[in-house]
C-alpha cells in the first residue's frame, strides 16, 4: 500500500476528516508534523496518501480547477464535482501516479459526503480509510462505525482510529490532524501526541 493513515466519515450535516502527520523517505522521517488534509474549496477537503509529491500536485490542480469552476457556475461547487475532478486525473495518469486521495465535504444539495478515488474509481461511502496504516484498523472501523453518529461521536471515532493506526504502522505517527466541515464552514484542529487516546499496551 502507501504511507500514511487517513480517514473520512459522514455525519448528518457534515463530514470529519482525519490524518496522521508522518512523511517518510525509506526509514527516515523527513517531516513529523505534515498536515495531510488539504483544502480543495471552502467546504471541500481531501486527505492525501501515497507519494507525497503526487498527492500534493493532484490536490493543487483540483484546487485551481474548482476555483475557476465555482466562479463560472456562480455558486459553491458540489462535493461530487471535486471528487470527479480528482478521479479524472487519477484515472488518466494511473500508470504514472501513486497516490490516493479521499475527498470529503459539505454542499447544500447532498449534505456531508465522502468519496473514494482509489486507482481512478469514484465511489461514495459513509466512511473511508486509506494509506498503509488503514490495513491495521479495518476491523476496528467496521466494528465501531454506526449510522447516525453525531458530530462529536464522529470526531472521537476518527481520533481513535488514527491513534490505533499510528501505534501499529511504522509509516504513520506524529500528531493527529482533524478537519470538521458542516454548513457553517471548515474547522481545523491538531491533537498533539500526549493528548491522543491510549489503548492496550500504551
Amino acid at each position: 500500500k502507501s504511507i500514511t493513515t487517513i480517514i473520512a466519515v459522514e455525519f448528518n450535516g457534515g463530514v470529519v476528516l482525519g490524518s496522521d502527520s508522518r512523511v517518510s523517505a525509506g526509514e527516515t522521517v523527513v517531516n513529523r508534523v505534515m498536515n495531510k488534509l488539504s483544502l480543495l474549496h471552502d467546504k471541500i477537503y481531501c486527505a492525501l496518501s501515497g507519494s507525497a509529491a503526487d498527492a500534493q500536485t493532484i490536490a493543487e490542480m483540483v484546487n485551481y480547477q474548482l476555483d475557476v469552476h465555482s466562479i463560472e457556475i456562480g455558486e459553491d461547487p458540489q462535493v461530487r464535482s471535486a471528487a470527479t475532478l480528482v478521479k479524472n486525473i487519477s484515472y488518466k495518469y494511473k500508470e504514472e501516479l501513486s497516490a490516493h486521495l479521499i475527498v470529503a465535504g459539505w454542499d447544500r444539495r447532498g449534505g456531508g459526503q465522502v468519496f473514494v478515488t482509489l486507482n481512478g474509481l469514484l465511489s461514495r461511502q459513509p466512511f473511508a480509510v486509506g494509506g498503509s496504516g488503514s490495513s491495521y484498523v479495518y476491523g476496528f472501523v467496521d466494528a465501531e462505525y454506526q449510522k447516525g453518529m453525531s458530530k462529536e461521536d464522529c470526531q472521537q471515532f476518527v481520533v481513535n482510529t488514527i491513534s490505533l493506526a499510528m501505534s501499529r504502522d511504522g509509516s504513520s505517527g506524529g500528531v493527529a490532524y482533524l478537519v470538521t466541515i458542516d454548513e457553517k464552514g471548515a474547522e481545523e484542529k491538531c491533537i498533539l501526541g500526549n493528548e491522543l487516546p491510549t489503548f492496550y499496551d500504551q
Partner: protein
C-alpha cells in the same frame, strides 16, 4: 422599423456610425420571419410550444422537429434558420456532455445557456463568418433548483425568464403569456394554456396548416425532457380549439 445600412452592413466586424452592428440585427430579422415558439415556466416545470408551419401536404408528420433534447433534463425550442439551430443544438449537447464528464453531475441551465450564448456571440465578431440566424429557448427542471427557463438570441446574450416567445407572432404571444399566473400553475394546467396561445397567435389567413409541437420537463416527467404524450396533447389541442370557438361566438354577440 427597417433602416438601410448602406455600407456599414456588409460584415459583422463593422459598427455603424450610430453604434449598431447591422449583421446581427439582420440575423434577428431572420428569426422574426420564422413561425412562433414559446416557453413558459410554472411552479413545477417548463412547457414548450411550437407552431410548426406545414409547407407541403407531402411532408411526413413529425418531420423537421423544432424542439430538441440537450441532455436528459434540458429541452431546447428554436425559431429562425433551422439548419443553424440544429448545429447549435449539437454545440449545446457537447457542452452538457463535457460538463457531466468533467464534474460528474447535470449541467446547471444558467451555465449551459451562458456557454452556448458565448459561442453564438463569437460568430458576431468576425467578417469571415455570419452570425447564427436563430434564437432558442432552453428549459430544464431539477429537484434542488426547480424549473429554469433561458433564451438566447443571435447577438449572443442570454436572459432568464418566466415566459418568453420568439418568432413572427412573438408580440401577440407575449401579451397572452403576460395574462397567465404561471407561478401558481402546474405543468398539466400550463400545457393546455400553451396550446391555446399557439392557436391564438396562428394566422389563418397568411399561413395555412400547422402542426403543434408540445414538450415539457418537470416534476410530472421526473426531471426528464420529453414530448408531451399523445393523450395530453389531444386534450390540450381540444381545449385550445374550444376556447377559440368561444371567443368567436362572444365576438358575434358584441356585434
Amino acid at each position: 422599423m427597417s433602416s438601410i445600412g448602406t455600407g456599414y452592413d456588409l460584415s459583422a466586424s463593422t459598427f455603424s456610425p450610430d453604434g449598431r452592428v447591422f449583421q446581427v440585427e439582420y440575423a434577428m430579422k431572420a428569426v422574426e420571419n420564422s413561425s412562433t415558439a414559446i416557453g413558459i415556466r410554472c411552479k413545477d416545470g417548463v412547457v414548450f410550444g411550437v407552431e410548426k408551419l406545414v409547407l407541403s401536404k407531402l411532408y411526413e408528420q413529425g418531420s423537421n422537429k423544432r424542439i430538441f433534447n440537450v441532455d436528459r433534463h434540458v429541452g431546447m425550442a428554436v425559431a429562425g434558420l433551422l439548419a443553424d439551430a440544429r448545429s447549435l443544438s449539437e454545440v449545446a449537447r457537447e457542452e452538457a456532455s463535457n460538463f457531466r464528464s468533467n464534474y460528474g453531475h447535470n449541467i446547471p441551465l444558467k451555465h449551459l445557456s451562458e456557454r452556448v450564448a458565448m459561442y453564438v456571440h463569437a460568430y458576431t465578431l468576425y467578417s469571415a463568418v455570419r452570425p447564427f440566424g436563430c434564437s432558442f429557448i432552453l428549459g430544464s427542471y431539477d429537484q434542488d433548483d426547480g424549473p429554469q427557463l433561458y433564451m438566447v438570441d443571435p447577438s449572443g446574450i442570454s436572459y432568464g425568464y418566466w415566459g418568453c416567445a420568439i418568432g413572427k407572432a412573438k408580440q401577440a404571444a407575449k401579451t397572452e403569456i403576460e395574462k397567465l399566473q404561471m407561478k401558481d400553475m402546474t405543468c398539466r394546467e400550463l400545457v393546455k394554456e400553451v396550446a391555446k396561445i399557439i392557436y391564438i397567435v396562428h394566422d389563418e389567413v397568411k399561413d395555412k396548416a400547422f402542426e403543434l409541437e408540445l414538450s415539457w420537463v418537470g416534476e410530472v416527467t421526473n426531471g426528464k425532457h420529453e414530448l408531451v404524450p399523445k393523450d395530453v396533447r389531444e386534450e390540450a389541442e381540444k381545449y385550445a380549439k374550444d376556447s377559440l370557438e368561444e371567443e368567436d361566438d362572444s365576438d358575434e354577440e358584441n356585434m
